[in-house]
Amino acid sequence: MNAKDNFLKVKHLYNRAGFGISYTDLQKISKKKLSKAVDGLFKTADKDEALALVDSSESKRQLLVQAGLYAKKDLTDEEKKMRQEIVRMQNEVSRDLNIAWVNKMINTDAPLREKMTLFWHGHFACRSNNPMYAQQLNNIQRAHGLGDFRTLLIEVSKSPAMLQYLNNQQNRKGRPNENFARELMELFTLGRGNYTEQDIKESARSFTGWMYDKDGSFIFRQNQHDAGTKTFFGKVGNFQGEHIIDIILEKPQTATFIAQKVYKFFVNDTPNPTYVKELADHFYNSKYDIAELMKKMFSSEWFYNPENVGTKIKSPAEFLVGLSRSFYVTYNKPQVLIQLQSSLGQYLFNPPNVAGWPGGQSWIDSSSLMLRMRIPSLVLNDGEIDFSGKADPEDEAVIALNRTTKQKTVKSYVNAQANWPKFLDTLPKSLSPLELTEFLLQPKLNNKITQMVSDNKGLRSTAVEITSMPEYQLC
C-alpha cells in the first residue's frame, strides 16, 4: 500500500461521500487500508439524528386554525390578520429550517448520512410552504437514505409534503389526478420512456385515497379509493399504491435508473454504462439495499480512477458546506446562508421543480462563478456583500406587501468567523503552502498554481487564495 496514494484516495472518498475531511482525520484514516476507511465512513452513518427545529404541536395548532379560517366565508379583519400572521410565521420557520439543515451538514459527524440526505433531497425534490411537512420529508430522507429503497419510496410517497406537492390530495375515485403517478415513474423510479400513458392512468387510480388528514398524518381514505380492477404493466388486479410500487420495483430498470443517478451524483456527470450496470445489478440483487449500492461504489477500483477525481463541479450546497466545514465557520447572521444559496442557484427545500436541480455545468455561469470565487474572501475575511439574490417566487406576496417605490440598496457584511487557530491546529507544523494547496484542491496541481503558491509565506493567506480558485469548484 502506497501511503501517498492512500492519502489521496481517502481524501477523494470523503470529498464525494461527505463534505471533505480535516488534515488530522485524513492522516489518521489513510494509515489504514482503504476498505477500512469505507467501513469507517458507514460506521459514522449509524448515527441518525433527525432535524427537530419545527415544533410539531405548534404547527398542528396553526394548521387547525388555518383550516378553520379557510372554511369560513367572510373573515373579520382580525381573522385576516391571523391568517397572514400564520403565513409569516411559516415562512420564517421555513428559513430557520433551511439554516438548521445547512448547519447540521457543516457540523455533522455523520457526513455520509447527510450527503445521502442531500442526494435524496434532490431526487425526491419537493416544495412545501409548511415547514413541519418539509422537515418530516427531510427526516424521512435522512432516516432511510442508506436503508431499504422500498421503505424510503413508500414513506416519501405517503408524506404530506409530497402528497400535497404532487396533488394526490386531489386524486379521488372517479376524478383521478395523475400528477403523482406520473412523477413516481418518470422521476422517482423508471425514467421517461419506460411506461405508457395507460400505466400512468391505471396507477393513478391505484393511489386514489392516499391522503393526509388535517393533523398532517397519512390516511388511506377507503371511500375515496377506486377499488376497481386495474391493469398495470400487463398485470391485472385490484391494486393499491403499495402494489404499484412493488410492481415498479420488480423491474430491473428501476435499479438501473437509481444507480445511474447515484453515479452521476457521486462519481461523474457522464455515466459509464459498464459501471452503472455493475451497480444496478448489485442493487437489484440486494433487494434495493441502498447501503449495499453505496458500499459497492465506494469500494470499486474505478471510483478512484483519475477521470473521476477532482472532475465534478461542486453543487452550491457542497461548496458552501465544504468551505464552512473546512474552516470551522460560524455565521453570526445565518440568513446570509440563504442569500448565498439563492445567489448560487441552489436554495435548499426550494428546488426548481419536481425534477430537482439539473447539476453539473448548469451550476456555472459568469455571475455564479464570479461569486463563487469571491465567497472565500467574503466568508473567511468577513467581506462586504454587494450583490442580491433573486426573489423567490413564493416570496412575491411578501414583496407585494412591503413594496416601497424606491428600491433600497442594502450594504451588508457576511458577518461570519472562521476559526483559524482551530484550522491551523489540524495541520502539521511543517506543512508548506504548496502541501496545503495539494490538500485543499482535488484536481492535480498544474505548473501555474504551483508557481503561484511557491513564494507564499503564510498558510492562512494561501488557504484564502486557493479556495478562491476555479480548481476549488471541483471535487
Binding site: K80, L187, S366, D392, E396, A400, Q407, K448
Partner: protein, 399 residues
C-alpha cells in the same frame, strides 16, 4: 497592493476599483453600420403573477364588475383603448406610447393544463416547456446553443441583474448577468482574477475544469467589451428613479452604444397581490409604465426603436373573481405586451377575454405563449423556432 494582500482584505469589488481601466476603443473607430441594423429583443418579466384584468381592464363587460365588487377599476377611470378594454389609470405614461403605434396588447396568452404555482409556472414560461415536461435549459439559452449567425458571441444575451435566470441558460452557452458593467469590469480586472486566466491555454478542454476557465475568459472579454463599448455613451434622456427604470436605462445604454447583444432580460417583482391589491398593483404598474415610456422614448431619440422589440409577460394572470381580502388569487391566461417601432399589428391584437366562458373560474387561453416566442424566434431573431422549442409553433402576425 499585491494579489494576496488584496485577498486578505476584501472581496474583489472594492480592491478592483484601484485599477485604472484598460484602453478604450474610440467611437470613431466603429464603423457606422456596426452601430445600426442590429435587432434587439428586450424581455421584461413581471414576477408574482400580474393581474391582467386590472391592467388591461375589460370595462365594457358587466361580468368584470360583478366579479370584482371592491377592486374593479371604474369605467370613468380607465384609459380607454376601445369600447371594451382600457389601461389601468396608473399607466397614463403608456398612453402616448400606445397612440404612437408602438404597443400591441395580446390577450389571453397561456398554455394547456396551467400550473398555479409561481415557481412551476415561471419555470414553464422560462424554459418554454409543456406543463408536464421538465427542461433544464431556458428558451433564450437554447437560442444561444443553436449557434446561429445572430447568436455567436458570449455577450449575445444579457440579464441586468446579479444572477442569471434559467431563461438564459443553455446546455453549452449561457447569457451574462450584470447589474453594473463597471463593477463586472473591475471584478474581472482585479489582479487575482487576471493572474488566473493569464496565458490560460492548457485548460481549454471539454472537461469541467476547461468549462470553468472558458467561462472566466469569456466573462473577462465580455466585461471589457461591454464596458469599453458602453462607457463612451452618455444618455441625455431622463428616467424615473426606480430600480426597474435603472435596469432599462442600462439596457438603453447598451443598445444605443451599439453593443452586439441580441437579447436583454429585466424583471420587476412584487405582483403577487392577494391582499389590498389596488394600491400595490397601482404602484407597480406606475413604475412599470413610467420606466417603459422613458425607455421607449429614449430608444426613439437614438433611432433604435425600429431595431428593438420589447415583450412583457408574467407567469400567470389571476382569477376572474376577487377574493375576500380585496385581492386576487392565482389564475391562468394573461395578457402580454409587445413594444417596438416596427409592429405589424398595433393596438389590441386579438379579442378581449371572454368572461362568460371560464374554466372553473379561470380565463381560457386563446394563444400559446410559445406562439409568441416562436414568432420572435422566426421573425426577429432569424432562427427556426422548431429548433429552439420542442416543436414548430405557428407564428403570429404582430411583427
Amino acid at each position: 497592493m499585491n494579489r494576496r494582500n488584496f485577498l486578505r482584505n476584501t472581496g474583489f469589488a472594492v480592491a478592483g476599483s484601484l485599477f485604472v481601466p484598460a484602453f478604450m476603443k474610440p467611437l470613431e473607430a466603429m464603423a457606422l453600420d456596426e452601430l445600426s441594423l442590429y435587432k434587439n429583443l428586450v424581455v421584461v418579466q413581471l414576477s408574482g403573477g400580474n393581474d391582467g384584468l386590472n391592467t388591461v381592464v375589460p370595462f365594457g363587460n358587466d361580468i368584470y364588475y360583478q366579479k370584482r365588487r371592491s377592486i374593479a377599476i371604474k369605467p370613468e377611470e380607465v384609459i380607454k383603448l376601445n369600447d371594451m378594454q382600457g389601461l389601468n389609470p396608473n399607466m397614463t405614461a403608456l398612453q402616448e406610447i400606445y397612440d404612437q403605434g408602438w404597443m400591441t396588447i395580446i390577450n389571453d396568452v397561456g398554455y394547456p393544463n396551467p400550473d398555479r404555482s409561481h415557481f412551476r409556472s415561471m419555470d414553464i414560461w422560462q424554459t418554454g416547456s409543456d406543463s408536464n415536461q421538465f427542461l433544464s435549459t431556458g428558451w433564450i439559452g437554447r437560442y444561444l446553443d443553436s449557434n446561429c449567425q445572430t447568436c455567436k458571441f458570449p455577450y449575445t444575451a444579457i440579464e441586468v441583474d446579479d444572477s442569471l435566470s434559467l431563461a438564459l441558460k443553455g446546455q453549452t452557452k449561457k447569457g451574462i448577468a450584470l447589474k453594473d458593467p463597471a463593477a463586472l469590469f473591475r471584478n474581472t480586472n482585479n489582479p487575482f482574477f487576471k493572474s488566473m486566466i493569464q496565458n490560460e491555454k492548457e485548460h481549454l478542454d471539454e472537461d469541467n475544469l476547461g468549462y470553468l476557465y472558458k467561462t472566466m475568459i469569456e466573462t473577462s472579454s465580455s466585461a471589457s467589451y461591454i464596458q469599453n463599448t458602453s462607457k463612451i455613451y452618455q444618455s441625455k434622456a431622463s428616467y424615473p428613479t426606480s430600480g426597474f427604470a435603472n435596469q432599462l436605462k442600462t439596457v438603453s445604454k447598451f443598445i444605443s452604444s451599439g453593443l452586439k447583444t441580441r437579447v436583454y432580460y429585466v424583471s420587476l417583482s412584487g405582483f403577487d397581490t392577494h391582499v389590498n391589491q389596488i394600491g400595490q398593483q397601482g404602484n407597480l404598474l406606475k413604475q412599470y409604465s413610467e420606466g417603459m415610456a422613458a425607455f421607449l422614448k429614449d430608444l426613439k431619440s437614438n433611432n433604435k426603436l425600429e431595431d428593438t422589440l420589447v415583450i412583457t409577460f408574467s407567469e400567470f394572470g389571476r382569477r376572474v373573481e376577487q377574493n375576500a381580502s380585496n385581492g386576487t388569487d392565482h389564475g391562468t391566461a394573461n395578457n402580454m405586451f409587445v413594444f417596438g417601432g416596427r409592429l405589424k399589428k398595433q393596438g389590441i391584437f386579438n379579442a378581449a377575454p371572454n368572461l362568460g366562458d371560464l374554466d372553473t373560474g379561470d380565463l381560457k387561453y386563446q394563444l400559446d405563449f410559445r406562439q409568441v416566442y416562436g414568432t420572435i424566434l422566426d421573425k426577429w431573431l432569424d432562427v427556426n423556432n422548431a429548433d429552439i422549442l420542442s416543436k414548430k409553433f405557428n407564428t403570429l402576425d404582430f411583427i
